[in-house]
Symmetry: C2
Subunit: 339 residues, 2 copies
């Protein structure tokens, strides 16, 4: 049997034999147990989905595995929950593949799985199937997790970057740049007066509230890698509209601003893992904002700009100094391995 | 732009910015294009699934990336197609997450994606969404691929290890041990007169044919890691029946037998990636066999044993010498990183 406190992952735990079965029983089944996972087949058999289906997937290679405000497990579940949600869907089920490095303490895997289970519970989704592989020492920085999510549409509208319309309002659900700055500060061992926490969080409840309050919402996106700036550039390209931001309205925590200045980063390009961009008609903006603010993850929500007809395909920003400048896509690497 | 012939993956291709977009356009979109992937959202929106849903996922870390009979791309698609199929389902869509090593030649990724696309086309499934991360040089051995598959049930029966019944017949759809032996021979640089080829193949058409010809089929499984012996032990445990194999009836290629003898392996514990175990009532066994043999992947199909009431929870085998011996689960690591 596996001793979680003192044991470590060995190559044999990836062999598919008795040791793999013990690992599944001792850690995965303990944390994730549900009627579908417990079928213990090569896959899970689940009820029909009578609405259109939304599917998304992510690989997670964040370094370090644990950081203020979260860990790779919370990130993996929340990231995929959010990617499914922004299709205008309710996430139902997750599949999780683990790539474990030989020598990984079971205690680390156990904590990561506990965090995944807690985040899945918070989001109301079930982890219904999984897989485990083991690679040689030195080949995976502890562990990587790939998640896939399946959900059902909760609106008959197409919610996509293509749908942004001139006159629409651009809302963000909170402060920008928290996640990437938290990871980098932790990695570099820097402190900026106060610990910067990742915002990693499942946003499916926020999405459901927005779609209820602002049913004509056109676009939902989570500005992860590449940050707000890159995601808005994608939307401007896809919808062939312009987007004009107002720098004064973009919420950024003072400690994140300080850290970014020190690290030479721009918070608009730094990843978020618990924030949404909502683009909706101006007439529904107040209702959307009110709905977002009822969530603990949406208290700092703000209108930060609008969609324009001119400057189609590009993002611009009215700066604090009163000028206007272009806001380009992220180029270069800026922040490797933040998710 | 990306030069596929001479370029290599850099950390910036995982940043989520312009370089990531170029990588997606130049390689992933080129090979995988379909109406859903081309939505280019964080997830794909797909039609409803009115039958019960089957979901499976796998991480693939095979070493080397290319081997006789296949490569990590064919393996990733076929493996997940097969895991969905053995739920008694028709696979519809795949999601694929890539973890790329800094420095990986684009040409390698391009070949892997071409192979994935060809295998997906053969299986009639679409790769509808994906994700790419890049990790530092020295991690990930080139690349890892995680796939998730979604399908719909094509039978109202429960197809699972729990369903095996005394009197049922155990069929394998072809020779045992080809995949694992091919990988290990390639890795060790050994030749056994003839090149041993992996059997990696999508088996959804075989599953559909079996369920049509033998509608009362109780169990479908693909004996991958751990091989025939371990998979049958799982089924014996799950169904609380005994399984009695006849060694003389188990098809093994002579070159695989020779390689296994040389390497100290038992073909019954070596992974297959293009074979099924079919357990069905004796009355439908001939029909199942005939259906399987119409497939190029099923020409060597054979009845290899039967399900018994006695010896519940265990697998036994009548040996070539006429004796009987227990066939245990795989213990130890035997073959690391074969899939």
């Amino acid at each position: 049997m596996i001793n979680i406190k003192t044991g470590r992952v060995a190559m044999t735990h990836g062999s598919g034999g008795r040791a793999t079965a013990e690992l599944i029983r001792s850690i995965f089944a303990k944390h994730f147990s549900n009627e579908w996972l417990d079928q213990r087949h090569d896959g899970a058999v689940l009820p029909p989905i009578t609405n259109p289906v939304a599917v998304s997937c992510d690989a997670h290679v964040v370094k370090p595995l644990f950081f203020p405000g979260g860990d790779i497990g919370r990130l993996a579940v929340a990231g995929t929950v959010n990617d499914v949600s922004v299709c205008g869907a309710k996430p139902l089920w997750l599949a999780a593949s683990f790539i474990l490095e030989e020598g990984l303490p079971f205690e680390v895997l156990d904590r990561v799985c506990a965090s995944m289970a807690a985040t899945a519970k918070e989001a109301g989704v079930a982890i219904v199937t999984g897989d485990t592989k083991v690679v040689d020492r030195g080949l995976a920085d502890g562990l990587y997790i790939s998640t896939a999510g399946i959900g059902e549409k909760i609106t008959s509208r197409t919610i996509a970057g293509t749908e942004a319309k001139p006159g629409d309002v651009v809302i963000v659900t909170g402060t920008m740049g928290d996640h990437g700055t938290a990871i980098l500060s932790e990695r570099e061992g820097m402190s900026f007066g106060t610990t910067i926490e990742s915002d990693a969080a499942p946003l499916n409840a926020v999405v459901a509230a927005v779609l209820e309050a602002a049913p004509d919402t056109h676009v939902l996106r989570d500005p992860t890698r590449g940050g707000l700036a890159t995601t808005l550039n994608e939307i401007a390209t896809e919808s062939n509209t312009g987007i004009l931001l107002d720098e004064a309205l973009i919420p950024v925590k003072p400690e994140v601003k300080a850290a970014c200045e020190f690290l030479g980063l721009d918070p608009l390009y730094v990843a978020n893992e618990g924030k949404l961009i909502v683009i909706c008609p101006e007439a529904q903006a107040e209702a959307a904002l009110a709905a977002i603010r009822t969530s603990p993850y949406g208290r700092d929500a703000a209108v930060v700009g609008r969609v324009t007809e001119e400057n189609a395909g590009f993002v611009e920003m009215t700066t604090l100094m009163g000028g206007r400048r272009g806001v380009d896509w992220l180029t270069g690497e800026q922040l490797p391995r933040i998710c």
